[in-house]
């Protein structure tokens, strides 16, 4: 018996030891909940909202957006002013003299060149490399470097020595300087030459991929692989205490799936000092748990409310029972893809290769009912790819509405009519319209929508459909092989210009899941890109969008996404400050949040309103 107790005692001692070695710190001034953990804090590698929000807090780009305004004007950031040449091709940025990295080093123009070069190099593989290719020579350099690496990998093994790899890197650096339109006339001046005029480039400079990094820090984690010649990067530098930043916050702690803690950057002297002393981001993946955490007071703001019972929460808001759910109309659109290639995965003939069939399917849908009755979350019904009124000066096209008669006529004009009276349309060879396979993933309510759409199509067009629900990886594969007929999709705009949506339909675009190839459309975009007058350019782009949402229909837009935040408003209904409420949250559709603007209203939150 004593031995059994001994075993138990051993377990208890172990337990106590582990508990004692693992203690959290004091709570931060403000706690935010994210539902997905950060992928990376390396600005050039970022492509997710939650990463970028931390990026904007840690690093300061040349400019920032005024996220609390309606039109997201561009404000000075690390650059105190800038000049744009008359032809719109050359941008010159003048940096603040007092700009400092968190270790005291001055912020130099060359730091931006270093960071942007990482974004352009095929080695560091930025998902957003296309954005950098606006810069003159960047595409050519990308091709040059890719070719150099290919040639190096083809050399015999004994020639691929560390010295040879270093020489390759030196040649790459030299080529970058000679080919790419980035120069630093002095330490505080950055000159950027563009390939073509792009009125949105200035706004793009505020985007996360364009944030600077501290070159000596990053260089310490960089090496050149002798076997492949590739510049390799270890990611240890993005963790405290290594990370050196130039923004309003510094990274104090980052523990995986527990807490990411930001503290005020004492070296920061720029225009956006952090309003909160410290801010802690807690990742809670389970929606139920995250809502309970907010309700129990463990957090001040929930950044991504997606609970299944959101409809009930909204009803409570309408009844005036709660005021902490905030709906944001986003710069994003939910749609279904049509496979535009002639066959499904190279096998069966694909009726959706015909634009008339695609239009018929779009016209047959009552989207209002899909959004209100099926989803019950009442988003904005979408007839266009780009959310209307989201871009100043852009006149959105009409798009196609719900028109059952026209839907049947379009299908008939494509040769599909019910020839044998069984209710299902046949083509002139007597073949029945194939059963449409609707491809989607399990989570997110896609299947409910698909079922409702299927019944609308059957009622209006006589076409039968079936559901194919696949796990994300399999889903992705099926999209890539074009082995589907229709599939769910969606897109959020990255920058405030129509191209962030319209480029999707370029044949060579990596995100063109539809196999849509249309030279006439790409010519429209290219013509718009050479148009010097910004307003005329927008009209030309609107015409290109009209072409895709009224005529060729590669995607079927259903609704524009909404996003929900959960936090107590900063002001009570009577206009007095609401203790425990949060200030500084942007309601702009771009979903950019600047954590340094967040501030909790002081006072006792439990005190009832007077």
């Amino acid at each position: 018996m004593t031995r059994i107790l001994g075993v138990l005692a051993l377990l208890l001692v172990l337990l106590a030891g582990v508990v004692a070695s693992d203690r959290p710190g004091a709570p931060a001034a403000l706690v935010a909940i994210e539902t997905v953990d950060m992928n990376t804090l390396d600005p050039q590698r970022m492509s997710h909202n939650q990463d970028m929000r931390v990026g904007y807090a840690l690093f300061e780009g040349l400019v920032r957006w005024d996220v609390l305004s309606e039109d997201m004007r561009v404000l000075p950031g690390a650059a105190r002013r800038w000049e744009i040449s008359d032809d719109g091709l050359t941008y010159t940025f003048f940096l603040h003299e007092g700009g400092r990295w968190s270790n005291g080093d001055p912020v130099r123009a060359s730091d931006f060149v270093y960071a942007w070069k990482r974004g352009i190099m095929p080695d560091s593989a930025s998902d957003y490399v296309k954005l950098f290719q606006l810069i003159d020579g960047a595409s050519e350099f990308f091709a040059f470097r890719t070719e150099e690496l290919r040639a190096y990998a083809g050399r015999p093994a004994e020639e691929r020595t560390p010295e040879a790899a270093l020489a390759l890197r030196a040649r790459c650096d030299e080529a970058f300087g000679a080919m790419v339109g980035l120069s630093t006339p002095d330490e505080l001046t950055l000159r950027v030459r563009l390939e073509r005029p792009a009125p949105y480039f200035l706004s793009l400079c505020a985007f996360a991929t364009f944030l600077p990094v501290h070159p000596p820090t990053v260089e310490g984690w960089t090496s050149v692989d002798a076997a492949t010649g590739v510049i390799e990067q270890k990611h240890g530098w993005t963790k405290p205490p290594h990370l050196v930043s130039n923004g309003p916050f510094v990274l104090e702690r980052w523990r995986f799936k527990r807490e990411l803690r930001l503290g005020r950057n004492p070296m920061y002297a720029g225009p956006f000092p952090a309003r909160s002393e410290s801010l802690s981001i807690v990742v809670i993946e389970d929606q139920n748990t995250s809502v309970l955490a907010f309700e129990s007071g463990a957090a001040d703001i929930h950044m991504d409310l997606e609970a299944e019972y959101i409809g009930d929460l909204l009803a409570q808001v309408e009844r005036g029972e709660r005021d902490d759910i905030h709906r944001l109309e986003t710069f994003g659109t939910y749609f279904w893809n049509f496979n535009c290639t002639p066959s499904v995965g190279g096998a069966n003939a694909n009726p959706f290769a015909d634009a008339r069939v695609r239009r018929a399917f779009a016209l047959a849908l009552d989207k209002r009912s899909l959004v209100n009755d099926v989803r019950r979350s009442r988003e904005r019904v979408a007839r266009t790819l780009i959310p209307p009124n989201s871009l100043a000066g852009y006149r959105s096209p009409e798009g196609l509405g719900h028109d059952a008669a026209r839907a049947r006529a379009e299908l008939a004009s494509a040769g599909w009519t019910d020839r044998d009276g069984d209710g299902v349309p046949e083509n002139e060879r007597g073949e029945r319209f194939p059963v449409v396979e609707l491809l989607c993933t399990p989570v997110g309510g896609h299947a409910d929508l698909a079922l409702a759409m299927a019944s609308m199509w059957e009622r209006t067009l006589g076409v039968r459909s079936k559901l194919a629900i696949k796990e994300t990886k399999v889903f992705r594969n099926t999209l890539d092989n074009r082995g589907y007929m229709m599939s769910r999709g969606g897109w959020y705009g990255d920058y405030l210009d129509p191209l962030t949506f319209l480029d999707l339909h370029r044949e060579r675009d990596g995100n063109n899941d539809r196999g849509y190839a249309d030279a006439a459309y790409e010519a429209m975009l290219d013509r718009a890109n050479t148009e010097p007058d910004p307003l005329r350019r927008l009209d030309m782009l609107a015409e290109a969008e009209r072409y895709t949402v009224e005529e060729t229909m590669p995607v079927l837009p259903l609704y524009h996404y909404d996003q929900y935040y959960m936090y107590r408003p900063a002001l009570r209904r009577d206009g007095t400050p609401n203790p425990g409420g949060v200030r500084g949250v942007s309601k702009h559709p771009r979903l950019v949040q600047y954590y340094f603007l967040f501030e909790k209203v002081p006072g006792d939150a439990s005190e009832p309103a007077s």
Partner: protein, 323 residues
Amino acid sequence: MIGLIARRLAQAPLILLAIYTITFVLAWALPGSAVLNDEGRRPPPEVIAAMEARYNLDDPASFYLEYLYRASGAMWAVETVRGGEPPAFIFDFGPSFRYEDWSVNELIASSLPVSVTLGLAAIVLALAIGVTAGIIGALRPNSPADVATLAVALIGISLPSFVVGTLLLMIFPVWLGVGTVGGWGRPQDMILPAVTLSLPFAAYIARLTRMGMIDVLGADYIRTARAKGVPGMRVVTRHALKNAFLPVLSYLGPACAFAMTGSFVVERVFNVPGIGQHFVNAVKNKDLFVIMGITLIYSGMLILLNLLVDVLYRWVDPRIDQS
């Protein structure tokens, strides 16, 4: 005993190699790309190809060997002897594709202690609840107390932990205002998840104890003890439990391993940053290095814990060693 330990330790690398190979084949066969985020932006094809080449994703044989070389510690040994640049960890499990800033070693280092703590707490709790309930049941078989413990045990085994967990969260932190939601690190954060995780184990232990006790209580040496005039409670704790506990002890080995490697559901409901999440998420993300690393660590732990239980078993009951 030494012979047993030596034999088992010698077998371990072979078992691990077999597990590594099977896991590799299965993980490689997963559909989709490991380097791409399925819902994210897609970089140009050149960038994708470069990343796949860098991690040997274009060649299964070299991936298999290269990873084995790093994960087995061979690379560390070779580089240390050669005076080169050894990796930061002896067993280098590579980077994570999904969590780009973290290596698999870092992920395991941050999540394994959490799961071990939670698992140990749950097992200790399960022992306390289970053994007590088992004894109560065995002393008066088929009495109301026995039926009650049986009922509780049945509920403990059959109620899924996401129901128990969500209920506990609703009742304690949200309605009664005691306890915490979604935090980890303070002792009070551990209570609700430990209770949830312990219930199925407690139920099983209660049944095992009850069975063993009923068996033992009918034995001659117990009757002798009672006849000698040993007080009732003392008979139970001193004489009966000692033998009745053996089946529980052999169950504890796998139970500990199971509890300490984390439960995906309990971790999700209580937002515990443990290792259980990786088992599910890594496969969903086709995060190859994480799948391989976690599986190796888990298998290693199972082998060690089973060995530990066998050793403890002999220590508690020396007869086993002699036979």
